[in-house]
Amino acid sequence: MILQTESPLPDLLADLLGLSGSGVAGEFVAALLAAFIVGNVMLAMTGVAGPWAKRKITAKFTDRIAADRIGPAGIGTIPADALRLLSKELIVPEGADRPAWDIAPLIVAGSAMLGFAVIPMGSGIQLADPEVGLAYVFAVASIASLGMVMAGYASNNKYSMLGALRAVAQNLAYEIPLVVTGVSVVLFTGSLRMSEIVAAQQETLISVGGLAIPSWFAIVNPFAFVLFLAANVAEVGRNPFDIPEAPTEIVAGFQTEYSSVYFVLLYLGEFLHIFLGGAITAVLFLGGAAGPGPESIGFLWFVVKIWAFFLLTQWLRSAAPRLRIDQLIEIGWKGMLELSFLNLVLTAVIVGMVA
């Protein structure tokens, strides 16, 4: 299956740098370079989001000003915060189960990074485009749960343990509706390949007074879109589903015992997951990188879409109460799961009738 992978960005780089002639080694260097670029773009985005944008957005919701000391609109707080966080003492709890304790933050952050490998971000930025793109992205995104369990279990802390157990319970309850809803999109496209899913959404659905409305799946099937968004918010663990962390209940859940660099990694991982969640939503339902203007600025539209999802999570955080774990599980297994299967069957019927 993997052999059927296309790799747009590495190919492009290879062509540009004249590496295409050097065989496997050239491909390897080009792929590394491409991965380096994509990784850095995503890390830069989380860097902006974590220490600065998040604060400013929340402040707007709650009538505050937030960071405004360094640089215009306080943007200079990003390097300051980075320095502060990295220079803090790393406290290792007594009885921590190492190396699991050390690996966990890497898994949480890394799993999200892996997901970006198959996301078509527009403007030709896509590391790889395997046949099984969608399955791959769901698979790697859920590896984060493993990281959370490792973190919670290895911390030798009861709050961490509770947080880890909650994380697993929550992800089990929401992964299935998430994937099943995602599959309903596949029924339309007939392909798991990300680029084809995006391509399928580019046709015009209807024209209203000269304005062409594209056949984004969010417009074609809004029900699935809402379902997917809700499951996605649960998947990335944000209000009203921030139960694995639940600061007022179990302190900080699975990450209670982490400090300094490890904390930064976990924090980074969380934001990466939000952006990955946004990216999957954009690809599946919002036409990927599509937007007005030439195709070359597609990446900008893509960034706008994933930041819109980020904004949504921050909005929910300011305004939505947290559910109780048992209520969440109940909604997941008794509500979302049924709705997602219903959606799947309905979509299948509609697709069957149209086709």
Partner: protein, 553 residues
């Protein structure tokens, strides 16, 4: 315990002979207090006496247990009231001999006596027979001596290493039959404990099997501090520090009411109106914080409601700062009135209050949109943290906690003081008995307080300039007669806040006892949360709205 003269009859006479008849075989003496008749009984008949008073005479509210050591005896006083009519009071005095201070526990009759008697044991040293769990409550379990006892040595070193303290993890906490429970310390440093509260929690998965509040981290024996201060000036600053969540004026009133009644001081009407207005402003500020922090508990950090509540509370604080000169520790009341008149220019001050009060309905609308109208919040709070009416009464719960359980009890209306009985307002009561009801009661009380403030401003605006008497004539030094005892309560932000004073003929109180509403309210936590999920326990704790400064005193 010296027998009072017949001329000093208490205020309430009705039913006194009936009480005497009811307790005929139990009474050994009379020792009337200024606020209530008091019967002296033998230490082994406490349960019998209180049981009869509760079941047959309807005294269903054990407001306070006061303990004191005298040179020849120990004494516990049970201050009883009726939830239907708090002016109908009776005190039961239980002397025990000083060699072997053992008295029967009232816990089987009133659950609330549990903690009150533990405190009496901790600070004074009276032991209670038949008490389910007689341990120290405010001081560390390794503390040597009883600080309010007469032979207490202040200079005795109290350095006890940590290893001497009981370690709940040392023994296996798991019961043999149930090996799945886990012991967790929630607090003293935890995001949801609203201060330094320690909850010793036993969990079965996510469910709370048992929770036991461990208090005393903020204890500094405010009672003894008050006993070392003179009535006139030195005590008044302390009440601000009990419930320090900007409820200062309400607390000051508790002391003022008791001391003024003790020394027979009449407060001028004008000062009463200022007091009433100031106290209600404090109540709004306190309830705003309560609602805001409750939202934190349910929503998680960074919720908009908390910031909105703080923003609105800030406006109240600005008004209070104009009035008292302080933002937190007001020290504004004086015995016989208040320390100074309203700030000049008065019009501007009234304008600022009116502006706030007029804007309040819109803001409350916003709160209802954001909080009470939110389906998820309703899922979380409706039907959780259940505190049935009878249980609430048994635990001596008061304030919004009681009113959220359908108990129509408000000292401002039922035992009027200040200017409340002249004004037009209502007591909000909800009978849902759950977290949601307690939240609703607080939000509705803010509305009522605003009504009161508005009426006070109307009155103050029209008050003739030459009749603005802010303080009665009070002697420079107050020396109430020897051995007068009084227990007076006011409606604080968290509930019934009371002060018991026994005068000893000097300028300082012989015994000063604080009835903290949070102390009694917090006792209900296990009742509300055992068997529930952790988040519900946190919500229940938030809905109790405790302030550790007042719990620990």
């Amino acid at each position: 315990m010296s027998l009072q003269e017949e001329s000093e009859t208490p205020e309430i006479e009705s039913g006194e002979t009936e009480l005497e008849a009811l307790l005929d075989d139990l009474i050994v003496d009379r020792d009337d207090h200024m606020n209530a008749p008091a019967f002296v009984i033998r230490p082994d008949t406490v349960q019998e006496t209180l049981g009869r008073l509760k079941e047959e005479a309807g005294y269903d509210h054990l407001s306070l247990v006061t303990a004191e050591e005298y040179p020849d005896r120990f004494e516990s006083i049970y201050h009883l009231k009726k939830f239907d009519d708090p002016t109908d009071e009776v005190s039961i005095v239980v002397p025990t001999d000083s060699e072997n201070p053992v008295s029967e526990s009232a816990e089987p009759v009133f659950r609330t006596a549990d903690w009150h008697e533990r405190e009496a044991y901790d600070l004074v040293g009276i032991e209670y027979d038949d008490h389910p769990d007689l341990r120290r409550i405010l001081l560390p379990e390794t503390w040597q001596g009883h600080p309010m006892g007469l032979d207490y040595d202040q200079d005795r070193p109290q350095m006890v290493p940590l290893r001497e303290n009981a370690n709940p993890l040392q023994e296996d906490q798991r019961a043999e039959s149930d090996s799945d429970t886990m012991f967790v310390n929630i607090g003293p440093h935890h995001p949801a404990t609203h201060g330094v509260l320690h909850l010793e929690t036993t969990l079965d998965g996510e469910q709370v099997v048992d929770v036991e509040p461990d208090i005393g981290y903020l204890h500094r024996n405010e009672e003894q501090m008050a006993q070392n201060g003179t009535y006139r000036h030195q005590i008044m600053p302390y009440p601000d520090r009990w419930d320090y969540i900007s409820a200062g004026l309400l607390n000051e009133w508790a002391y003022a009411r008791a001391a003024e009644d003790l020394a027979d001081i009449e407060v001028p009407e004008y000062a009463q109106i200022i007091r009433t207005m100031g106290a209600e402003l404090c109540r709004i500020a306190a309830h705003m914080l309560a609602v805001g922090t409750f939202a934190l508990d349910i929503y998680g950090d960074f919720t908009a409601i908390f910031m909105y509540a703080i923003r609105d509370r800030e406006e109240v604080q600005n008004i209070l700062e104009d009035l008292t000169g302080q933002r937190l520790m007001f020290n504004y009341f004086r015995l016989g009135g208040v320390v100074w008149d309203l700030p000049e220019p008065r019009e501007e001050f009234f304008e600022s209050i009116r502006e706030f009060v007029d804007g309040l309905p819109d803001r409350l609308e916003e709160y209802h949109d954001l909080i009470t109208g939110n389906e998820i919040l309703q899922m979380r709070t409706v039907g959780t943290g259940i505190l049935p009416e009878e249980v609430a009464k048994n635990y001596g719960a008061t304030g919004p906690v009681a009113r959220g359980s359908g108990i129509d009890y408000d000292i401002r209306r039922d035992d009027p003081y200040g200017y409340y009985d002249e004004l037009d307002w209502e007591v909000p009561v909800e009978d849902g008995c759950d977290n949601f009801s307690r939240l609703l009661v607080r939000l509705r009380e803010v509305e009522e307080s605003a009504k009161i403030i508005e009426q006070c401003v109307d009155l103050l605006e029209d008050w003739p300039e030459d009749e603005r008497n802010i303080q009665a004539n009070v002697p420079r030094t107050l020396r109430p007669e020897d051995d007068k005892e009084i227990y007076r309560t006011v409606e604080g932000a968290k509930g019934e806040l009371g002060v018991y004073i026994r005068s000893d003929g000097t300028e300082k109180p012989g015994r000063f006892k604080i009835r903290s509403p949070c102390f009694s309210n917090l006792q209900t936590l296990p009742e509300m949360s055992n068997g529930e999920y952790i988040p519900d326990m946190i919500a229940a704790l938030g809905s109790l709205d405790i302030v550790l400064g007042e719990v620990d005193r």
